[in-house]
Amino acid sequence: MKNELTKSHNTGLTKTDILKIFFVIVGITFGSFMLSRTGNLGTAFLLSFVFSILLSPWVSALERRGYKRGLALLIVFGVITAILGSLGYWAVSSLIDQWDAFSQSAPKYFDNTLHRLQDYEAELKTQYSVLRPLHTVKWLEALKKDTTQWFLSNGADVLGDLLTLLLLVPIVTIVMLKDGRGLRKRFYELVPNRFFETTFMVSHRISSSLGDYIRAKIIEAFLVGFITSIGLAAFHAPYALVLGVIASITNIIPYVGPVIGAVPGILMIAADPAHQHLLWPVVCVYLAANVIDTIVIFPLLVAKLVNLHPIILIAVVMVGQQYYGLIGMLISIPIATALKVIIQEIYYFVYGNRSIPHSE
């Protein structure tokens, strides 16, 4: 009788191996498809992955002190809830107050800017007749109307999505931290013996590179936000905390993030007659934060981990932007880091024992 487990002469794989590979490919394709189709679920998984990477060292630290992993998770989540609920109350309420004032003032600043632009546009059109077909102010007014309309019609959906994320992310994060190892083990069981060690090491190196990168970017973002808030507060600029938070969030986007983060603060100061004298100090604060980030924080924290040539970094960010906009820019470097690991492995597979440089 022909043995079903006999190895194929061409590939060295058994029928079981081929079945396993088939299941792995189908599983990964189906999972990716589902995550990309169900926006909320995909976002929840992405956020949970980031949170699990950020919280993992804290859970491990408690385990080192003798706590069981489940209890360590409970403690970490309990502390986070307590911080958000009580100790962070002042910061959050102050942030909300500033955000309320900012969101109320923003339309006023927008209208002021529009009036100024309208005067300037009329003046330019009388001087240069070629500009008459242009209706910049009308276009901006339409944009404002459309944006307001979008918020009115989609506000409930956005709120619903946020609440779903608020519920899903902690649950998925806990599952990832508690059972992530078991799930990974199940996945490895589907990998044929021939590729097991390589798959194990590649996935380990990818996850550890991504983890290091995400941790470094979060710390970098926090430091940039902190410097911006302190700098703005030192000059008594309004909404220092909100603008610091915006700068820290946008700073996660490579290259253009710092510029996007500076726009709200600079525009607001420029449009507000009461604070116009602060325009240059505010520009200097943003510049200083960016210079400190570029010269000190980024090289010390992030560049060493990524270990890719600056030209390659710019290229991957541009490619990311081309296909997926801001999100593409955000995820381009982690994807490039993962691809680098895979390419290194292929290089090793092709060229055998010749040593290759590893970032580890």
């Binding site: 487990l5 079945l19 396993k20 385990e63 190892r181 060690e197 090491m201 055998g352």
Partner: protein, 178 residues
């Protein structure tokens, strides 16, 4: 159900019921984990991987990069080296309870010094360097126990190798005199 399907089913969907051996017992009997308590052995079992090999299936090849060690839970493993290929199939045959590849737990990106092949249907329990590092990070006292045992095994093998070299040197001298 065909054999390949049943193996896949057993490995992925119902791994515990298909086992004719106990993972904790396998770990307990191994010299590297002798200092561990029952709780620590259960904890360790979450960090190891069970791999099933068919007869004549290669486990790893000489000069492959090694990332960890294997303990034989059942079956037989043959070890062979390129340098001795003319002198027969295997330079060493290992049975249940034996382990091999432990050097890879210490030496990062080390190359396998010999090839390992399953002589008969074999199940191995693998422990890999990143997981050992994680154990050391999460449970330092347990990690130290494993590392201490590992260094003792290494030391013992070094003594055995030194003795063997001395024996060969003596044989060489005797041959030269005669």
């Amino acid at each position: 159900m065909s054999k390949s399907k049943s193996i896949l089913w057993a490995q992925f969907f119902n791994p515990k019921k298909s086992k004719a051996w106990n993972l904790i017992e396998v770990l307990k009997e191994n010299v590297l984990f002798q200092g561990l308590t029952e709780k620590e052995l259960i904890y360790l079992s979450n960090f190891v991987y069970e791999r099933t090999f068919e007869a004549k299936e290669t486990i790893f090849k000489q000069n492959d990069r090694g990332f960890g060690m294997y303990i034989i839970a059942r079956g037989l493993v043959g070890i062979k080296q390129e340098a001795f290929e003319n002198e027969g199939d295997f330079i060493l045959t290992l049975g249940k309870g034996s382990f091999f590849g432990e050097l890879s737990l210490i030496d990062s990106e080390s190359l396998r010094t010999a090839s390992a092949v399953a002589i008969e249907p074999t199940t191995l329990v693998g422990l890999f360097k990143p997981d050992l590092m994680e154990i050391i990070e999460r449970k330092p006292s347990m990690g130290i126990k494993i590392m201490l045992q590992l260094s003792q095994v290494m030391g013992q093998r070094l003594v055995e190798s030194t003795d063997r070299i001395s024996e060969l040197e003596n044989e060489k001298r005797i041959n030269q005199k005669s």
